[in-house]
């Protein structure tokens, strides 16, 4: 009987053991999929843009649409001067999108090997969210100096409750990387578990009831089919949400105090 444990897909395996300074720095399947994500992105974009035609072919159109999509998103949420962050936001968006899409392969890179969604691990999404958060703080202070603190002092608040409001604003600001990372992580984790649970029902029914079980198994199979389509939507949507929140936060670094 196939393994129906729905969370086995999130296990980390050491592929190349490596230890340094008393730390386990092994090359794991998670590292492999991060490398794959970067490699797939670079190869696809290089191939798509290789013709550099004035009238683009299909692949080049897709690459240009993604480029325009991220540029428009950045311009509309954070203003035209935010375009200096375009490489950063574009890289984040593409990295998460490709990583989510690679995680949608049931068997990849080969039979017997399971796929791995790097964004279903909190440590990865926290690292990405902290990158954005620290960029906002460092660039905000560098560009605006003390005026960056206006972010925590909303205008039009009476002086006697200002300390409380500022404290709440500070807590709200610190909580940003948490909600930013938990959302991406939880969406990917929950979606993949749900998918595996319903797929597991088919196997369990077949093992328990024989041929009749496989006939009833059509119901969870249809559900799995529908959920797979939904998961593709979520994979794109969460990359988009992560990128647009990055834009909103970067706009705070550029124009604090609205």
């Amino acid at each position: 009987m196939a393994d129906t444990n729905p969370i086995k897909q999130f296990e980390i395996h050491e592929l190349v053991p490596f230890e340094a300074f008393g730390l386990n720095l092994a090359f794991t399947n998670s590292s492999l999929f991060m490398l794959l994500t970067a490699a797939v992105t670079i190869v696809l974009f290089t191939l798509a843009m290789s013709s550099r035609a004035l009238v683009p072919n299909r692949a080049q159109s897709v690459a240009e649409i993604i480029y325009g999509f991220v540029a428009d998103m950045l311009r509309s949420t954070a203003g035209a001067d935010a375009l200096r962050f375009f490489p950063f936001v574009f890289t984040l968006f593409i990295f998460i999108l490709v990583a989510n899409m690679l995680g949608m392969f049931p068997y990849f890179p080969g039979p017997g090997l399971h796929s791995f969604t790097i964004t279903s691990h909190l440590i990865v999404t926290v690292a990405l969210a902290m990158l954005v958060w620290l960029t906002v703080i460092i660039y905000g202070v560098f560009k605006n100096g003390p005026k960056f603190l206006k972010l925590f002092v909303p205008s039009g608040v009476p002086a006697y409750i200002l300390p409380f409001v500022s404290l709440i604003e500070v807590i709200s600001f610190i909580s940003r990387p948490i909600s930013h990372s938990v959302r991406l992580f939880a969406n990917m984790l929950a979606g993949h578990i749900l998918l595996k649970v319903f797929a597991g029902f088919i196997v369990m029914l077949g093992a328990g009831l024989g041929v009749g079980g496989y006939v009833i198994g059509i119901a969870p199979f249809a559900m799995t089919l529908g959920l797979t389509a939904l998961e593709f939507l979520v994979a794109f949507l969460q990359a988009y949400v992560f990128a647009i929140l990055t834009c909103i936060y970067l706009s705070d670094a550029l124009h604090p105090g609205h």
């Binding site: 807590i171 709200s172 909580s175 909600s179 938990v182 959302r183 939880a186 949400v241 647009i244 909103i248």
Partner: protein, 106 residues
């Protein structure tokens, strides 16, 4: 008549304006379909949930840290969690504003 004269003076401009108008009309027509794809109830709920959860967690953690440093347990945790709730609510209100203003993030 006057319009004919104008277009004779600068026919290319009239043509271009007409074309621009038609393009704008088309764009308006196809716009809403693209926007609707960016929201699902599940991700919206996850957005609000994580915003609120983050606020409470950070408030509680700050209070707990204050307890640890100043040795005023359990008051730091209690007050910190209350401020955390306030910050979480603020986060949710901001998220709702962003989503309803159309700039989105659901």
């Amino acid at each position: 008549m006057s319009r004919d004269k104008e277009s004779q003076r600068d026919p290319s401009k009239a043509d271009l304006d007409d074309l621009q108008q038609r393009i704008d009309a088309r764009r308006e027509k196809y716009k809403p379909a693209a926007d609707n794809a960016h929201n699902s109830a599940w991700s919206l709920g996850m957005r609000y949930g994580s915003e609120f959860f983050g606020g409470v967690l950070v408030g509680g953690a700050l209070g707990f840290g204050l307890d640890y440093i100043a040795g005023i347990s359990p008051w730091g945790l209690i007050v910190g969690t209350m401020f955390g709730f306030a910050a979480g609510t603020l986060n949710v209100v901001r998220a709702a504003k962003e989503i309803s203003s159309g700039s989105n993030g659901g």
